[in-house]
Amino acid sequence: MDLSLSDEQKQLQESAERFAREKYTFENRRKIAATERGWLTENWAQFAELGWLGMAFSEEDGGYGGGPIETMIVMEQFGKGLVLEPFLPTVVLGGGMIARAGSADQKAALLAPMIEGKKQFAFAWLERQSRYNLADVSLKATKEGNGWSLSGHKGVVYNAASADEIIVLARTAGSAREPKGLTLFVVDAKAKGLSRRDYPTQDALRASELTFDKVSVGADAVLGKVDEAFPVVEEAVDRAIVALCAEATGCMDAINAATLEYIKTRKQFGVPIGKFQVLQHRMVDCFTNAQEARSMTLMASLKIDDKDPTVRAKAASGAKVQIGKSGKFCGQSAVQMHGGMGVTDELSVSHYFKRLTMIDLMFGNQQHHLTRYSNLAMAA
């Protein structure tokens, strides 16, 4: 057992921390969010240059041989800064699935340029009826000559407007909600028949509704095996969940720090409100919650590479439960302790609160993952 960071990891932490601190001041972030894309190409280029886009991939895949701990380190700092660049959809989800399931050709064509900062991805899995069930997919892909034709709808697809390729989860066989019979396709974002409705999300990210109207792709668009995508998707989403958990711990650190600072300075009744014991204890509970969130995220990051998918799933779901609980507690408490200021657009606290809230809703909320964990734990 060893829970200490290596020197390289410490350096990575420092540079990610510096990036978030310098490039994501409150005012900077507001400006970035207001740009057309909603993120900056110069920042993305910097990620590539610093090696962050390839750090978690094996050297044979063109990466730098790191893993979930490196992802955790960077995502945590992204959380502190509320960074808007599409690292999660492109690198963790898109890159992760290609590395796991892609052919050598696909890796060369997609992963290598992604690591260089030249390709971005989006992952289209959700449909109106899916809620948090990854297998509840009805967008259909049917054989069409050598290739396939995709028709149907996908919703809340993060980064679809900026992505070069959309990785689409489609039903190629089986009945509704059957895990078997799902296939992943890599679809050119500009493909004919693919239309988008773009919008910002509550937390200033960008997503889209996608409509596929007989979108034709070749046989080489299939990522992994036909009908066998489910385990790939489940693993990728578990990894994304753990990365989100790391981002959330960063958000919690930042929102707790802001609140602590606020209650030390804001005066009412002639004293800083941090002199009131009820706020003191609530602040302690916030820090305890963040500590637990960090612990569970670290544990999940250390277990997510486990060969046993049950270990991996329990670790991811367990961490997501904790993040949901802690994020809600820290977010709601921060708003309350900030008083009226906490519900305005004018302080960072409401922005962290919104991000923490949205993270809970992504890929299954606290309740969903508690049930998933519970079922796995009782089956053991």
Partner: protein, 398 residues
């Protein structure tokens, strides 16, 4: 003891329901059930209709032009309005300043101000909080200095709801800087059109504009706009806060919220069925449903005491505390019911009449913004912490 309605009350409830159905604009009603923000007309047109019927100032005694209803009638009126999707009555005139004026004002003041409040011809807003005086209201710094038959008012009010719609503002101002904090305060009515009054919007986290800063820069206010005696405004303030705390529990709209939440659960898809099939979720609805019932019954018990001549004591603070927790929890569960589709931010669907179709289900656009926005309910009108301090001191003697 019984909870049943006698025939007169039953008839009364039917009459109210018929009135709402005949007079509430369908577009306004639709905004209630779709969770859209109201604009000024939604409120004012409806309030004027109530005013014409004599029902806007429904808590007032007959003497001042109110309907003189008993406790049961008030209860029914509020519930029917909420069930039928009426916007809440903006409290600043009929629930706040009106009772202060008829309790502490002169005859001339009553004649001048009460009619416009009863009819909703005149809109009011509340100038209490200041940047340095939120929970600690007695610390307010807005100064009013007597010069002849006017006060010259300087200072800043904040969190002023609907100041951008207001014709008049009632303010707590400091008229004596040497007295103890609570003893040098006066209650002053200010015409918003007076030179020196400036309103600056504060944008909430969901993008909404409800509240404002109000800057008062050498504003000249006639002395006859003072309510009660100079330096005795704290009495009015306390009276008003106690009144405010009771209605602020918002039980009728929370009841509507629970029933809308059940509806949403019956629509939201889950594994081929709906969310209503998920016992873990429906148990959470049941839990909040029961909390609403407990709150309503607690409120009825207070009203029953009042009906027998008792006054609402500081224990109503706990109703306000629970009422805000409940509103927040309903908003939270509603957002969770929507799931991933709560993520798109759709200001067009929140603030404007639009023909766009929403992203996700019809109930999705307001779900997350409402959750964010509802956090304010445990802050305004005296935060939860302040309410508990009050109960601890005044009720428990700690």
């Amino acid at each position: 003891m019984n909870l049943t309605l006698n025939p007169e009350h039953q008839t009364f409830a039917d009459e109210v329901r018929a009135f709402v159905r005949d007079n509430l604009s369908p577009a306004t009603r639709e905004k209630t059930f779709s969770g859209k923000h109201y604009d000024r007309d939604d409120h004012i047109v409806w309030q004027k209709a109530l005013g014409r019927k004599g029902w806007l100032a429904y808590t007032w005694p007959k003497k001042y032009g109110g309907p003189g209803w008993d406790v049961t009638q008030r209860f029914l009126f509020e519930n029917v309005l909420a069930e039928e999707g009426a916007p809440r009555i903006l409290p600043f005139g009929p629930k706040m300043v009106g009772p202060v004026i008829y309790t502490f004002g002169t005859e001339a003041q009553k004649e001048r101000f009460l009619p416009g409040i009863r009819s909703s011809e005149v809109s009011w807003c509340q100038g209490y909080s200041e940047p340095g005086a939120g929970s600690d209201l007695a610390n307010l710094r807005t100064r009013a200095v007597r010069e002849g038959d006017h006060y010259i008012v300087n200072g800043q009010k904040t969190w002023t709801s609907f100041a951008h719609w207001g014709d008049w503002i009632f303010c707590l101002v400091r008229t004596n800087t040497e007295a103890k904090p609570q003893e040098g305060i006066s209650f002053l009515l200010i015409d918003m059109k007076t030179p020196g009054v400036t309103v600056r919007p504060i944008i909430m986290t969901d993008g909404a504009h409800h509240v404002n800063d109000v800057f008062l820069d050498n504003v000249k206010v006639p002395v006859e706009n003072l309510i009660g005696k100079e330096n005795e405004g704290w009495t009015c303030a306390k009276f008003l806060l106690a009144n405010e705390r009771l209605g602020i529990a918002e039980v009728p709209s929370s009841k509507r919220g629970v029933s809308m939440l059940r509806q949403i659960a019956r629509i939201e898809p889950l594994d081929g069925g709906t969310l209503a099939d998920d016992p873990a979720f429906t148990a959470q609805i049941a839990d909040i449903d029961l909390q609403v019932q407990a709150l309503e019954m607690s409120e009825l018990r207070v009203l029953s005491t009042m009906a027998q001549g008792g006054a609402p004591g500081p224990e109503v603070s706990t109703l306000k505390v629970r009422g805000s927790e409940i509103q927040q929890r309903i908003a939270e569960l509603t957002m969770e019911a929507v799931g991933e589709y709560a993520q798109p931010y759709q200001p067009g669907m929140l603030f404007h009449d639009t023909n766009e179709t929403p992203i996700g289900p019809d109930h999705a656009p307001p779900a997350a913004p409402r959750y964010f926005n509802m956090r304010k309910t445990s802050i305004y009108g005296g935060s939860t912490e302040i309410q508990k301090n009050i109960v601890s001191k005044m009720v428990l003697g700690l």
